[in-house]
Structure formats: structure tokens, C-alpha cells
């Protein structure tokens, strides 16, 4: 090499050494490669026959055993959600020796009405696809009946490569009952498949998972752990049996969720609210936040999500395009002005900040309305309530009293108290999609209505003090009203009490948590409780329909003005027994007029059922 001509002898010695090292190194590399070649030769040439036979014969297939999804129970152990077996019929293209004959035979399978069992389009799709995906089972009939499965299985020699698989699907035995709280499962969506959160948890195309409600919130508990088994398949691709010497991993069934729901109360509530009325009912125990019943109307039937694709598509279109928006859980996602129920917040704020006491009468009596500057703001009772104190103003729901109370207080004090009772913020209920609602003050008002060019003025307080302008969910109303009557704090509303494994072992217990110290001074608490009672038992009370023999019930009606200009939304909140409340009910019905007439009877029915059930229990245990 020309470059090396001028090099000294030392360089040449060094060059030789490097040459030698390269030689030795490559010899070692060659030796390593020789090992690989020999091994390759051993496997592929010497032992070829053996391995080839085993690969042909050894029809061991690794199959995933899907874990059974956990159940949902009510507080008394009644099953609310369970699973049912579902059969799929598929073709395994690589085992279909003669496409045309199998296709024709399948097309000749008719049901009792003389209709084709197999959809020709789907069959064609599967056989076409099978040319490229020869080793993957392609579904040709979903959710097949036992008869259909038996028909195919008994004639396996006529249908080589046509196999059936069993899978488990969700079953909601009570159909639409509490459907929004329970939620539903569905096949993983394309969007979720792109989400790394789902990928990391090992979800794949075709998996079913909780998409709404408790099913979604507690998905990680329901899901369980898929198992693996090795099965031997015969020449037609059917499973002959487990391969003994290969270990298998059992599927671990998902955990069961024990809810706080009281199915009897839920049923009473469901019966009381017809599906034609839009609305929501929340029943909870204010002492610990346990939700006893939750309903949103119109309902959906979660069973449609377990149907085969064709049926699902049809039902889904009906549900998704319905203008009544049945997919919304109005109990936690519907936000409405609280109406007169909010007067309890204004009253409590007034009492706590000592703007009013039980004797306070504002200078202007109710004459059926109130002049604020030159604006005349009406009270709902045209005849007027005259002079009122806080108790009678709450009892008769006088607007004029609270106009003046609000003006003296200012929104900050009112909102501070409202927040303590859980309004304007998420309560942390264990359901996805909870709305936080809205409390209004000058800042939020100006921000919210900036694009309309509206500016805050003190006149807004008039409306806000009587609950027109804030937004709350039915869940917030039930929580706030219950907490105010209970007087010992606001507890996180929740649906799940505990999680148990399929063997009944306790996995997780959800402790009750206090969200805030929602307390009033003792004398104010008495005034509030007295007012709540007066609404129900007072001669001129607006909530007299909630009376129940032998139980001290507190309540408040409300009518939320509807920006769409239709009839007002009807509110009714009730709590009992007032000495130590264990049940708080909020009923909201959209566009049905005043709260007392429509929502009140529903709350009354629920209270009636609750206390008769309780009396039955104590009655049998003398």
C-alpha cells in the first residue's frame, strides 16, 4: 500500500500486530458464527422431519381466556348487573379447504322463518378477508342462539373451518333501572385505542370495557385478569382439549362492586317518574353520603350495548339522535337554576353573618313585588305576603324578603356559604362526568356575559338571592339540603361501599369522607330546621304534599326559570326525619311547572316507601 511506504520499521511491526489482532478477532467471530451455523444445521437439516411433523401436528393454540367481569350488587346483595354467555360463529380461513362449498352450505342454513341465518354480505366479507388473513378467526355470526351453535357443531365435517367461540356479555336484568348510574360496557373505540392510557393497561382491538357510569369508573376492578390456555385443535380447527403438559394460567374474574343503592327505593322512584318526562331523582343519606337511589329520565337500556352489531347500530342511532338526550345522566350532569330552594342558602348566610335574626322584618313588605330603583321585581304570589320573618318567608317562599336580604348581604357571603354546602363545585361522586354547576358573582358574571356586553349591576343580586341565575345539579341539591338539615358537615356522595373479589374477599372499602364542615350556629340551625318543617306542616306551607304520618319531614319547593321560555323546571327537596336525617331527596322535572304540584308527590312517595320499609324492619324485630 502506497501510504505505508515511508513508514518506519516500528510502524511496520505495529501494523503487523494490528493485522494479527484483526486476524485473531475475526477467527473468534468465525468460531461464534460456526456455532450458529451448526445449530441451524442441526435444527433445520438434521432434525427437520421431526420439527416439521411437530409443527404440522402440534396444533397447540395459545388462546386467551377472557376474565369474567365483576358483578354489581345493591346494598342488600341483590344482583344489579351480571354476565350472560354469548356464542360467536367464525371461520378459520386456513382450515377452509373449499371456499365455495363451505360458502354454499352456510348459505343453505335457514332459520324457522326461512330466512338466511348467515348474512351473505358478512360471509362474503369474511371469505374475501380470509384470503389475506388466513390464520385469524373471522366472525360471521354474532350472539348466535344455542340451536344455531349446535347445528354447526354437530356437522363439523360439513363445515370445516367453521368454529364457535363462547364469550361473556354484560346483562342488566332490570333493563333501564338506574341505567345512568350503572352505565354500560362497549367495545373499545378507535379513539381509546390511540390513547396510551388504554394501551399501557393492555387493551386491544375488540376488547369490551366500561364506557359510562359505574362500569367506567370502576373498570379496573371489574376487568379481572385474562388467562392463557393451550388447547389442541383438530384438523377442522376445533378445540379438542387442553394440552396437559403445557401449564395454563386461569383467568381471574373481576371484582364485584357492592353499591349503596337501595333497589326498593330505586324501584319506587322509577315507577314515579314516567319515561316521557325529562328529569332526575337523587336520594341519599346525608349522614354519610351514601346514594340510595339515582335516576335520570329518559332512560336508556344498557342491554342494547350487549347486542350484536347490527341491532346495536339501530338502537344506538335512536338513543344518540334523541333530542331528549337520554345518554345524559341528569342527576350529575344536568345543571339547572336551583330556584327557591336556594333561599335556604340566602337565609342561612343572612343568619350566620347576623344580617338577620329570627325576628328581622325588612322595611318593605311584600306587596306582590318590590321596587328596586325603577325596576319592579315580582314575587310569585301576586297578592303579596305582607311583612314576613325568615321562617314565614321560607315557608311561603316569599321573594321580596330575600331580595332585601340578598341586597344587604352581597353575593360574596351568600356564595361562601353555598360553597360550604357543595354548590358550585364537584362533590367527587364516583361517577364519570360530574358537573360542578355555577355560582354567580360580579366577576364570573362579567366574564360569562362579556360577549353579550352585559355588565354586572347590584340588581342581579335580586335574582341570584332567590336562586335564579346559579346552576346546580340534582345531586348537589340533595347533598346540600341534607347537609343543612343534618348540621354536622357535608359528606362526599358516593355509590360504592366496597369492592369484593369473586370469592367474597374484601378488596377495598370506601370510607365515608367529609367534604366540608357545613355547620351553622346552634340557634341558626334551629331556625333553619324549624323553617324546613314549617314548609311541610305549616298551614300555608308550599311543601305540604311531603307530609308523612309520624315522621318530621322538612322540604322546600323550587321553580327554576327556563331560559327557553317554556314552563319552569320543577324542584322539590325533602329531608327526614328532621331530628336526625337519614334520607334526603331531590327531584327535578324539566318543564312541568311548579315544584309543589309535580315534583312534590314523587318525593313523598319515596319518603313513604323509605319509612314504611324501615318500620317493617323494626316491626319484625320486637
Amino acid at each position: 500500500m502506497p501510504q505505508n511506504l515511508n513508514h518506519s520499521t516500528a510502524d511496520i511491526g505495529e501494523q503487523q500486530e494490528r493485522n494479527l489482532r484483526v486476524f485473531y478477532t475475526l477467527s473468534a467471530v468465525f468460531f461464534l458464527f460456526l456455532i450458529l451455523i451448526f445449530r441451524l444445521f442441526w435444527l433445520q437439516v438434521v432434525k427437520y422431519e421431526d420439527y416439521f411433523r411437530r409443527s404440522e401436528e402440534n396444533r397447540i393454540r395459545k388462546t386467551i381466556v377472557t376474565a369474567e367481569r365483576g358483578y354489581i350488587y345493591d346494598k342488600n346483595g341483590q344482583i344489579l348487573v351480571r354476565n350472560r354467555p354469548s356464542y360467536n360463529i367464525s371461520i378459520l380461513p386456513y382450515q377452509v379447504d373449499n371456499r365455495d362449498s363451505v360458502y354454499n352450505r352456510l348459505m343453505r342454513v335457514l332459520d324457522t322463518n326461512g330466512q338466511n341465518v348467515f348474512d351473505p354480505a358478512l360471509l362474503e366479507w369474511a371469505f374475501e378477508r380470509g384470503k389475506y388473513q388466513r390464520f385469524r378467526p373471522l366472525r360471521i355470526l354474532e350472539d348466535a342462539t344455542d340451536m344455531q351453535v349446535a347445528f354447526i357443531e354437530e356437522r363439523s365435517e360439513l363445515f370445516p373451518g367453521v368454529v364457535s367461540y363462547v364469550e361473556s356479555r354484560r346483562d342488566y336484568p332490570y333493563g333501564t333501572m338506574a341505567s345512568h348510574a350503572l352505565g354500560y360496557t362497549g367495545e373499545i373505540s378507535e379513539q381509546q385505542l390511540k390513547d396510551s392510557v388504554y394501551i399501557e393497561q393492555g387493551y386491544a382491538l375488540g376488547d369490551r370495557l366500561g364506557q359510562k357510569g359505574l362500569e367506567k369508573e370502576y373498570e379496573h376492578y371489574f376487568r379481572g385478569h385474562d388467562g392463557v390456555k393451550y388447547v389442541e385443535v383438530n384438523a377442522y380447527g376445533r378445540e379438542i382439549g387442553l394440552v396437559e403438559e403445557m401449564q395454563y394460567e386461569d383467568a381471574v374474574a373481576g371484582h364485584n362492586i357492592h353499591t349503596t343503592l337501595d333497589w326498593n327505593l330505586q324501584k319506587v322512584a322509577e315507577d314515579a317518574v314516567p319515561d316521557t318526562v325529562k328529569g332526575a331523582v337523587v336520594v341519599l343519606n346525608p349522614q354519610n353520603g351514601e346514594i340510595l337511589a339515582m335516576l335520570s329520565s329518559p332512560r336508556i337500556n344498557p342491554n342494547i350495548f350487549s347486542l350484536n352489531k347490527k341491532a346495536l347500530k339501530k338502537s344506538w342511532a335512536e338513543v344518540a339522535l334523541d333530542s331528549a338526550r337520554p345518554l345524559n345522566n341528569r342527576a350529575i350532569q344536568g345543571t339547572y337554576p336551583p330556584g327557591s330552594i336556594f333561599k335556604f342558602i340566602t337565609a342561612a348566610a343572612g343568619l350566620e353573618s347576623e344580617v338577620i335574626d329570627s325576628y328581622t322584618r325588612f322595611p318593605k313588605p311584600c306587596t306582590g313585588g318590590f321596587y328596586f330603583g325603577r325596576r319592579y321585581q315580582r314575587c310569585w304570589l301576586g297578592a303579596g305576603h305582607g311583612y314576613t320573618n325568615v321562617v314565614s318567608a321560607l315557608r311561603e317562599s316569599c321573594n321580596v324578603f330575600f331580595y332585601q336580604c340578598g341586597l344587604e348581604l352581597g353575593m360574596d357571603k351568600i356564595n361562601d356559604l353555598a360553597r360550604k354546602y357543595g354548590l358550585g363545585r364537584r362533590l367527587g361522586v364516583d361517577l364519570p362526568g360530574e358537573k360542578q354547576g355555577l355560582l354567580m358573582d360580579s366577576v364570573t358574571y362579567n366574564k360569562r356575559f362579556e360577549r353579550y356586553g352585559w355588565k354586572w349591576s347590584r340588581g342581579q343580586i335580586l335574582n341570584l338571592a332567590i336562586g335564579q341565575g346559579e346552576l346546580v345539579t340534582p345531586l348537589q341539591i340533595a347533598s346540600f339540603f341534607g347537609a343543612m338539615a343534618y348540621g354536622k358537615g357535608l359528606y362526599r356522595p358516593h355509590l360504592v361501599k366496597e369492592v369484593r373479589s369473586s370469592d367474597g374477599e374484601l378488596i377495598k372499602m370506601y370510607p365515608i369522607t367529609k367534604i366540608s364542615e357545613a355547620k351553622l350556629r346552634a340557634e341558626n340551625q334551629d331556625i333553619i330546621l324549624h323553617s324546613m318543617e314549617e314548609v311541610v306542616s305549616g298551614v300555608r306551607g308550599t311543601g305540604r304534599r311531603a307530609q308523612i304520618r309520624g315522621v318530621k319531614v322538612g322540604a322546600k319547593t323550587g321553580s327554576a326559570e327556563n331560559p327557553q321560555g317554556d314552563k319552569t323546571h320543577a324542584w322539590f327537596a325533602a329531608v327526614a326525619p328532621l331530628e336526625s336525617p337519614t334520607i334526603s331527596v331531590a327531584v327535578l322535572l324539566e318543564n312541568t311547572g311548579s315544584g309543589a304540584a309535580t315534583a312534590g308527590p314523587i318525593a313523598a312517595k319515596i319518603l313513604q316507601a323509605y319509612f314504611s320499609e324501615k318500620n317493617d324492619k323494626t316491626g319484625t324485630n320486637p
Binding site: 510502524d11 433445520q44 420439527y51 416439521f52 409443527s55
Partner: protein, 413 residues
């Protein structure tokens, strides 16, 4: 013909032969990835094979980018590169993304995931090459081992912690080859390694006895100072005893990998299952293979990770012994070309980079293929230019860039 050969051998010439081999390997790789992942419903631009093509294109950009630099730059950049790669490995302790088996090997930057241990291989290679460009090692002067061992042990332990035993061993292989090229003989390397071998051999009394005999013979013939001979013997015995405790402290999945190497049927679901199915796929390929796209074993999804770690099984099943032979031949030719750069240039930095880089490739090739053939434990090491995966493609193409650069400009330092 002779003229062409002379031209190829000549330094300062761009190595078209190596370019051709790498391109050929990449082509085979894409075909195999395509075949292994054909069962997909993804649109073509999301498929593995297409992503692999984009990785390769990106890799070539890097390789030719390196060709535009000067070897001197890498000489200067060696220690900073080492430090940067260590920072990457440390960073993983804090912001790493957990993957299966509880290992933490990746750092996620939103849309892109980086595997710092891949780039640490390059950083370590450069640093060690620079150090040995002026220093030698000798058994008589144990102090000569201090700096290289420190350079080695830091990334080694950090990678081991992830835990990624097989990648950690890549660092070990670089170090070993560097020792050989920096003055040690085979016998000396054997003595140096013997305590480590004791650790493994102690599991069988016969093997350990044989090893100790060999060590004694080597010591006697090498005539090392007495104290050093005693030290090596003591370390051998201590290593043997320590072995039991080390064995007990191994991670569950590491131990199971070693155990299933000894007896794959012990874990037919996990590592053993992969080995069995891989051998079945390869063995059933025969001399000619089953033909492209006709691998029933791979297509039935008997093989897990068939587009990454077990890509050689896919090739073995579809193209048989001939296919495997040709692939090994290509790899061998590639290594001849890359180790051969050490003959062309005398600058030790250039020599060390090429020898070390070639060793990285060699280690991956041998360990990966031996694993699919069932003669090495199941490790997560990919096969250069064939296995799917972005980070490793980049590592390999950086090495290819070094080979091209050093061959052409190795004198210019």
C-alpha cells in the same frame, strides 16, 4: 476483478461493499417485519414495516451526517458524549416510563420515546476508545485498570438497575474487546475473567473443578507475581461462594430466564414457550423454508415479539437453512469489513472505535440468533438491521456512520 478488490481495500475510498450489505440486511429486515405483522388492520402508514422504513431513512440521515464530520471531532466529543449519556441514564431513574416486567428503560417526550441505554452504548464506546488511544492495560500494573473499570461500571450499574441485564452485558463485551486490543493476551483475559466464570461454574462441581485446573495451569505458565496469582485464586474461590447469595438476590424474571435456559419446559408459558416455539418455527423451515408469507408458526401467532426479538425465527421458518446461512454470511462479511478498518489505520482512537463498534454489532447478532436457536437465554437484545424498533436502528446507524467516517478519514486526525 482483482482491480475492483484492490479499489475496495484501498483506504480513503467510500466502502460501497459495506453500504450494500447494510442495505441488503435492511431490505431483509423490512420484508421480515412485514411478514411477521401482516395480520393487521392498521392503515399502511401505521404499520410496523412502514415505520421501520422511516426509522431506516432517519438512520441513514444520521450516518451520512456523521460522514460529513471529522474523526477529530468525535475524539474531542468523546468524554462529553459519555457524560451526556450518563445523564440520560440517571434521568431515567426519575422520569422513566414503566414497561412490562416492571422495568424502566424509556424516557417519553410526548410523541417520541427514547431509550437512553442505546445512546449510552455510543457514549461509552467513544470514551473508552479515547482513553485507550493513549493508555494500555497490563496485569502487572493493576492500576492501569482503574480508570477503564470506573468508565465501565457506572453505565453498567445504571443499566443493570433498570433492570436490563442483556444491555448491561453489551457494555461488558465492549470492555472485554477493548482490553484485548489494548494489550492483554487471551490467556490474561481468561485469568481476568476466571472469578466471574467461577460464579457460574460453581453450580456444577465438575465444571468448577475443571475451571480451577485451567486457572492454575494458566497462572503457572504466565508466571505472574505470587501475590497476583494468590489474589486471582482467592477471587475465584470467593466468587464461587458469593454465587449462591447472588443467585438468591436476582430478580424473579432474570432468574426464570436463566432457569428456562437450562430447562425451557420449566416455563412453557413465558420465556420457555418462546424458545420452544422459536425452535419449532426454525426447525420446521427445513433447507428451503416454507416460502415468503407462508410461515404457519409465525402466522398463528405462536411466536410472541416476532417482529422484534424473534425476527430471526420468522426468517428461519420462511427461508430455511439457506436463508439463515445467507444472513449469517452477510453479517460475517459486514464484521470482516468493520473489524478490517483496524488494519487500514494506525490511529488508536480510530481503531478502538471501529473494533468496539463492531463488537457491539457482534454481541447483538450472536446473542440474539443464539437465543432464537435455543442455545442462549432469552434476552431482550434485538438483531441489528432486522429487528423492529427506532432507538436501536439509530444506534446501529450511528455505528455505520462511524465505520464509513473512520474508513475514509481515519488518517486525518
Amino acid at each position: 476483478m482483482k482491480k475492483i478488490l484492490q479499489k475496495v481495500r484501498e483506504p480513503r475510498r467510500f466502502d460501497f461493499l459495506m453500504l450494500g450489505i447494510v442495505l441488503l440486511l435492511m431490505g431483509i429486515g423490512i420484508a421480515m417485519v412485514y411478514s411477521a405483522t401482516a395480520n393487521t388492520e392498521l392503515p399502511w402508514y401505521q404499520t410496523f414495516w412502514f415505520k421501520q422504513i422511516t426509522y431506516f431513512a432517519f438512520g441513514w440521515l444520521i450516518a451520512f451526517g456523521i460522514l460529513l464530520t471529522k474523526p477529530h471531532f468525535w475524539h474531542e466529543f468523546a468524554y462529553p458524549a459519555y457524560i451526556i449519556s450518563l445523564i440520560g441514564l440517571v434521568l431515567i431513574l426519575f422520569v422513566g416510563a414503566t414497561e412490562s416486567h416492571g422495568a424502566v428503560r424509556w424516557i417519553s417526550f410526548g410523541f417520541i420515546k427514547i431509550q437512553p441505554s442505546e445512546f449510552a452504548k455510543i457514549g461509552y464506546l467513544l470514551a473508552l476508545s479515547r482513553y485507550f488511544s493513549v493508555k494500555k492495560v497490563s496485569l502487572e500494573r493493576l492500576s492501569s485498570f482503574v480508570v477503564p473499570i470506573i468508565l465501565f461500571i457506572v453505565p453498567f450499574l445504571l443499566v443493570l438497575k433498570q433492570p436490563d441485564l442483556s444491555t448491561a452485558l453489551v457494555f461488558f463485551s465492549i470492555t472485554l474487546m477493548a482490553f484485548y486490543w489494548s494489550g492483554l493476551t487471551f490467556a490474561e483475559m481468561f485469568l481476568l475473567l476466571s472469578p466471574g466464570l467461577s460464579v457460574i461454574a460453581v453450580l456444577s462441581k465438575l465444571a468448577w473443578g475443571g475451571l480451577m485446573t485451567a486457572v492454575t495451569v494458566a497462572l503457572w505458565r504466565r508466571k505472574l507475581p505470587i501475590w497476583l496469582s494468590v489474589l486471582i485464586l482467592t477471587l475465584n474461590i470467593a466468587g464461587g461462594f458469593a454465587s449462591y447469595t447472588v443467585w438468591n438476590s436476582l430478580e424473579g424474571h432474570q432468574r426464570s430466564r436463566i432457569m428456562t435456559f437450562i430447562d425451557p419446559m420449566q416455563d412453557p408459558r413465558g420465556a420457555g414457550y418462546q424458545v420452544i416455539q422459536s425452535q419449532l418455527a426454525i426447525g420446521s423451515g427445513g433447507v428451503h423454508g416454507k416460502g415468503f408469507g407462508e410461515g404457519s408458526q409465525t402466522n398463528l401467532s405462536f411466536l410472541p415479539e416476532e417482529h422484534t426479538d424473534f425476527i430471526f425465527s420468522v426468517l428461519g421458518e420462511q427461508f430455511g437453512f439457506l436463508g439463515g446461512f445467507v444472513l449469517l454470511g452477510l453479517f460475517f462479511l459486514l464484521l470482516v469489513r468493520t473489524y478490517g478498518i483496524a488494519q487500514i489505520h494506525s490511529n488508536l482512537f480510530v481503531v478502538n472505535v471501529c473494533v468496539g463498534g463492531s463488537t457491539i454489532l457482534l454481541f447483538h447478532i450472536f446473542v440474539n440468533i443464539a437465543m432464537t436457536l435455543g442455545i442462549m437465554p432469552v434476552t431482550g437484545l434485538p438483531l441489528p438491521f432486522l429487528s423492529y424498533g427506532g432507538s436501536f436502528v439509530v444506534t446501529c446507524m450511528i455505528l455505520v456512520g462511524f465505520f464509513m467516517l473512520m474508513r475514509v478519514k481515519g488518517d486525518d486526525i
